[in-house]
Assembly symmetry: C2
């Protein structure tokens, strides 16, 4: 089967999609349920309809675009990714898995492929944790990991809950109907940029993911004592920013201490109060993002960070409030899907290599309801979540071809 993947078309569509941003190009900022996010969704919905797909949206805004199979009663083969982008991010994270899946469907149809099983393209709501503090909102809810009650308890910085924000964005279906039953999908395969340096360094165009690292998120609030930066003597200060500085360095030290490159930990947010040049900070808020491919080692990392926070807080006379926002298990990709993706790469004449995803994806949660696999394409410089994130049109097209061939194989499985 020759697959007419149109590299120029998908590049054009990625460029157009990148235009929906709340920061000037090349930065992309697209936060869930904002007017910009809704405009981007409308653009993608129109493309999906043009391609002849049947659309359905759930109460969170997860979007399902279906290509009916010859045997509609069989469970569908699903693919997809997300459209939202963290502040000052790039144009390929998530979007390649959405527009790439669409291009895969179009190429398969143009090649005369007739799926036995239905194919569904899923656009997940809020893979990024920007607004509500928890990543993979849509796929967590689909997997039943976030219940409607838990969604109602999640609020953004303005105190707006997820259901309130979803309704305001026009998604009014009941949240009780979001969770999928086990077996709803036959399999799920996500196309994504690597967001790391391995494929580029090896000169290999296709990565086949074997496992996704286990992420955890902590929210820390440190409360000390403020006062005038000139008048309060150094001895006896209880400066929340200095405590936060020690915690940030302890987080780095804890990740380095495992001496395994798969352990990473990051303080991405540090806010101080009252945030005045001549006032001692009396409060600091920071986030810790900790990940490891080994769940036990990830848990030990989190435990060490918690202990370090307590030690710093006690020594500096600062109160510490620690909230474990999430601590998810890692996901193993299904060996049969790994093999299917490798065969697809071979059929496309493309070298592939197996790797582990240290970044997490909606696939991490789809693994709770069906077999999963992931296909990676190279990220220039290993760079992601930045405006200079880049994969070439050819690399994107190669990923689309491997995705299409993998989906075709899976959609042809009678059972």
């Amino acid at each position: 089967m020759e697959l007419p993947v149109d590299a120029a078309r998908i590049s054009r569509e990625l460029d157009t999609l990148a235009g929906f941003t709340d920061d000037p190009a090349p930065a992309v900022t697209r936060v869930v349920y904002t007017p910009t996010d809704l405009k981007a969704r409308a653009y993608v919905r129109a493309l999906l309809r043009e391609a002849g797909l049947t659309l359905r949206e759930d109460g969170l805004g997860n979007l399902f675009a279906r290509w009916e199979g010859a045997r509609p009663e069989l469970s569908a083969v699903a693919t997809g990714s997300h459209l939202d982008a963290i502040p000052h991010a790039g144009r390929f994270d998530g979007t390649v898995g959405v527009l790439g899946a669409l291009e895969a469907f179009r190429a398969l149809r143009a090649a005369g492929f007739v799926p036995l099983r239905p194919l569904e393209l899923v656009v997940f709501t809020s893979e990024e944790p920007t607004r509500f503090g928890v990543g993979c909102l849509g796929s967590r809810a689909l997997a039943g990991v976030l219940t409607p009650e838990q969604l109602a308890a999640l609020r953004d910085a303005d105190g707006v809950s997820v259901p309130e924000a979803a309704r305001a964005a026009g998604f009014t279906a009941p949240l009780e109907a979001v969770a999928l039953r086990a077996g709803h999908f036959h399999a799920f395969v996500e196309l994504h940029i690597e967001q790391g340096p391995q494929l580029e360094a090896a000169g290999v165009p296709i990565g086949v993911v074997t496992a996704i690292a286990a992420p955890a998120t902590l929210h820390l609030t440190l409360t000390g004592s403020g006062g005038h930066a000139g008048a309060v003597l150094m001895r006896g200060r209880r400066d929340a920013l200095l405590a936060a500085a020690e915690v940030a360095l302890a987080v780095e030290a804890a990740a380095l201490a495992t001496e395994d490159p798969d352990t990473v930990a990051t303080v991405g947010i540090l806010d101080v109060h009252p945030r005045a040049v001549n006032a001692i900070p009396n409060r600091a808020f920071l986030t810790v993002d900790a990940r490891d491919t080994h769940e036990g080692r990830r848990d030990a990392l989190v435990a060490r960070i918690r202990a370090d926070v307590q030690e710093v807080a006690e020594r500096r006379g600062v109160a510490a409030e620690v909230v474990l926002v999430n601590a998810d298990p890692p996901a193993a990709c299904d060996p049969a899907l790994v093999a299917a993706a490798e065969r697809a790469a071979a059929a496309a004449g493309l070298p592939s290599q197996r790797l582990v995803s240290r970044a997490y994806h909606d696939t991490l949660f789809m693994a709770r309801v069906c077999r999963v696999g992931m296909v990676f394409i190279p990220s220039q410089g290993g760079v992601s979540h930045r405006p200079d994130e880049y994969s070439s049109p050819q690399e994107v097209a190669q990923g689309v071809e491997v995705l299409a061939r993998t989906l075709a194989a899976l959609a042809s499985e009678p059972d």
Copy 2:
């Protein structure tokens, strides 16, 4: 002379003034030229007019309220302070020196005092550095330390310059006319809360300031490399927040290293970019506020901090931009004014003690154009720049009486 200082009246007026705030009580947030600042000014202007004073405002909004002397041709004795408050501050910093001076004038007039020299109450614009990054904007300009050209170069976070903001707030007089000639005032005396613990600890109601510590401010921008918090390995990261954390701790260590309690250094602001839970910070901005009573030691402190920033930046592969925003000399109070304040305290039957002001005040810059003195009252718990900043009505009234008697003595000096 019996002085009928009305403790209840000035407490009421302080309470009313505290109602002009952009944060809920008990916090006071009143940033220069905001609608809230302008409303507070209007309230105080009305009180000054009611007291029969003649008002003049310059192009920055510095306000002069004059009680004419028997010999109007003599240089005036001045007093005053500021109305602006940093975010989440309290109700006594600055305001006690404005409303206290007004109460001193009223008490002197009620007691039948007739000044030989004119008395002027000055309300200084923007003693706090919140909006434009430089403290004592008004008094610096009065002292000629900030020229109209330099004022035009100072911009707030939105890029608005000082002259633009002043004009928008309704202050349209030429900035060229702001600077006072040397000898414009006979003397300047400021009443202020101590903002430190010494008077309360000693159980002494009146502090007579002998010197004001030398302040310096640095703005630091650290630029590293961002990326995905999961995908970028720990080794080789150039995390701007971790560099900033090391710098903040180095600032503390540098201040402690002098082993003199008069050395203080504070990081009050730390902003990170892009500020996302799952993105490595690629940029950090921080402010350093460094002070010492000894100018040479202060300069050595600043030099050590600069060296530490370079060391951290080089080791972490981060670019460092260091801007010295201000580095002012300390000010010595005039021995004759110190003696006058001590005599005034004795006449009021109040114990007093001499002390050094580690916080700076508009007096620091008035010292460039005339002899200066300061009178302090106790701060409960040594606390300032916080909502729980407190001095009792009695303590405020005692300070007002000492200020009034000091002003009366100075205004009676024929030459």
